[in-house]
Point group: C2
Chain length 448, copies 2
């Protein structure tokens, strides 16, 4: 199963040399090169072979890449570079080109380390299958939660256990935004602009604020945790764009904090088991450990049958932390080249069906603007009740008079666990009521 | 390097069978058997081979071991059992017999999974060396922090990084005791008795309360983190027996919590690097994440150069969580038998010297009972200053009058970072002063 033994080192060092190709020399790539250089001797000891960077593929040869990138290694010909390597590190991002280069590396017998969550979520199966067919490794610790060891613990440490649920904050940008909104009371637009200035959000923040990044990570986590292929399309996704300063204030009044959560869960119903994977902003109790995860940090709860609750916390992004995770994989993959064997393959034997969001039962927080007159509150409560939704707390507050709209009030309701379908149906019915002027918020309550 | 391939399964299942011997059928052993049975099919999928338990070695055949232990598998002849297995799980504990059985298993070509922290701390090198010589695996995730994946993340996920410090709560019993003292204000003796009733402390709690268990774990963590052999004798060890209700109250006044910490650290002094490994009760700020680790939970902070701060949290003991960690190792080791390769070997290339406790620089909390008269406070402060110890805060409080001892006061002092040696010398000098009646507490301040 293992590919050709690495070439012996030409000098007097009897340890072999592994040829490494790096795809991408951005924030992560240049940190990978820096760490490989300053810790070269230690890495050699840990692997039992030297790593020799034979080339760094970039799109633009003329761009200044700082002191850690040797210009003589740069090439635009990634296609031939990957076929000459024992080990390919893909930190260029993007989908089509990355996939084609990774496939060509695997076909040439190279092992691959990648941080590309979007590609794995979209088309991981093709890559896993190619790695398997060519007897080489595909490792991706850096794809989820940056420096936090999470892929390896889930795949290997918990391999003798049964994972029930993984719930975490795995997108640093949205956590930075929600945390700043909570601390300052500011509007989202203002906070996003500030995050962009500080480099915590991209110029186009869509992938983060719309939850695409968190959904890609949920897809990877669900696949690993439940030995089932869970694609990006199987993940229910809601971003944070609709979270307002009023929602944050309402959460505070309720002793709660709003976080964007990625949740993957084994749902057991009699003999039937299904997988739920979802990303949405949710209110969690202030006392929940995830509530105190601030700024751009990540934290992930894992609940397993025997191990109980485990938490992992650390930096989920950034060039240096991500490079640490990449290099951990590089050492692992390189050791297998030297000593034989290979890492875990894709494991999708369970093939559990995916649970649709409609069947999910969660608690909700609902905020509605209504006409402030007798009977409206009872009518809203009655409508929820007719859909089998039981109210936990309700809070009504008059609004200052607007421009000729008459007297209005905001009703904030937290429910007991209710089916998503029932909640949607109740909200549809409520929004058709003349007394209900608008439905302002629909947020889940999690972490009880 | 790999040993003989496992035997094919006799039935129509083409997957091979691995023969498993279990040493010990106590709390952990019986849970291992239970989980192997209820998750048998899943484990087979994950490994690519069936696990067949060929025997369970115990000392007493007649003891009732509950429904999960098949009596026909019990044997007292552990010596021959281990020579017939592909995989030996050692959860019997103890030193001499466990060592001899593990060595004989390794010599017979079996891979070994053990939870025996005391043995690894005392004589890990002998075991690692035997595993290496016979080309088999020795795994021990369950030896440190129970179900929390920690050994694998440190050895593998962070293999491309440089660990600077590991600091954690790795003994559940002492955390239960200190947590209960903090919550209730009770004396240690009372709380230990309660912990014994609840099963959180052994009848003889010495290994826990004197810090031996935490020191064994520190020795293992230091060896892994710094690629250096750190034996039990290299770990400075202080238990919690001298922590009083007054210390707990003093900590609360200072916004701090007392925890028994295992700390292993890379100390860099110019070009020289050394390893410090130590266990002691310390006051940490209430805002530190370790301060909120309650009851028998464990939590460990890892600081690495590139990854930054990581935290791991979960159940550090108990039959079921420990069995989860054991089985994770079993799957990993079994996969290597089936697919070739082997896990990380002992890595001690760095051979860093061990730093003595005397050279360590930490902050201290000191409590002294003194005569309550003018000049004593100034004298105490002067003595510390003459040893180069700078005071951060000082707090003097008169004591109620005792039986004819005159008026007394307690001085509580927190210092800036000071050398341990200087502090010891200053305390020796102070204790010889007639005005100083007793030195009541010497505790470190950590986690700033």
């Amino acid at each position: 199963m293992t590919s050709a033994a690495p070439a012996p080192h030409p000098g007097d060092d009897p340890r072999p040399t592994l040829r490494v190709a790096l795809l991408g020399a951005g924030t992560v790539g240049s940190e990978v090169l820096r760490l490989m250089r300053i810790h070269g001797e230690e890495l050699t000891h840990r692997i039992g072979a030297r790593l020799e960077v034979i080339g760094v593929a970039v799109r633009d040869l003329d761009r200044d890449r700082g002191e850690h990138v040797d210009p003589s290694l740069l090439t635009t010909d990634a296609e031939s570079l990957v076929t000459q390597a024992d080990l390919v590190i893909e930190v260029m991002g993007g989908i089509e080109r990355a996939r084609s280069l990774i496939l060509s590396a695997l076909e040439s017998g190279a092992s691959v380390v990648t941080a590309n969550k979007a590609l794995l979520a979209q088309d991981g199966a093709t890559l896993y299958e190619a790695a398997d067919r060519h007897g080489v490794d595909l490792s991706f610790e850096a794809a989820v939660a940056g420096a936090i060891p999470l892929v390896r613990p889930i795949r290997e440490s918990l391999a003798g256990d049964r994972i029930q649920r993984v719930m975490g904050i795995v997108n640093g940008t949205t956590n930075f935004v929600l945390d700043a909104m909570t601390r300052t009371g500011a509007d989202q637009a203002e906070v996003v602009a500030r995050a962009q200035e500080l480099g915590y959000a991209e110029a186009d923040p869509t992938a983060d604020v719309e939850g695409y990044d968190a959904a890609a990570k949920a897809s990877i986590l669900a696949s690993l945790a439940f030995h089932t292929r869970v694609g990006l399309g199987d993940v229910h996704r809601e971003g944070i764009t609709e979270v307002t300063a009023e929602d944050i204030a309402a959460a505070r009044r309720m002793g709660r904090t709003i976080k964007l959560l990625s949740i993957v869960e084994r749902i057991v119903d009699g003999d039937e088991e299904r997988v739920s994977a979802r990303v949405y902003p949710a209110m969690i109790p202030d006392s929940h450990p995830l509530a105190s995860v601030s700024e751009a940090y990540n934290a992930v709860f894992v609940e397993a049958e025997a191990a109980g609750s485990l938490m992992f916390y650390g930096q989920g992004a950034g060039g240096t932390p991500t490079a640490s995770a990449v290099l951990g994989d590089v050492v692992g993959v390189a050791r297998q080249r030297v000593h034989g064997g290979y890492g875990p393959r894709e494991s999708a034997y369970a093939e559990l069906p995916i649970a649709g969001i409609g069947d999910l039962r969660t608690r909700f927080y609902l905020a509605l603007t209504v006409e402030d007159r007798p009977g409206v509150l009872a009518d809203v409560a009655g409508c929820l009740s007719s859909h089998g939704i039981s109210i936990s707390t309700i809070h009504q507050q008059p609004l200052p008079e607007g421009e000729g709209t008459g007297e209005r009030a905001v009703i904030g309701i937290s429910t007991h666990r209710a089916r998503e379908q029932s909640t949607t149906a109740a909200l549809d019915e409520l929004s058709a009521r003349p007394a209900v002027q608008s439905i302002d918020s629909v947020l889940r309550l999690e972490g009880e």
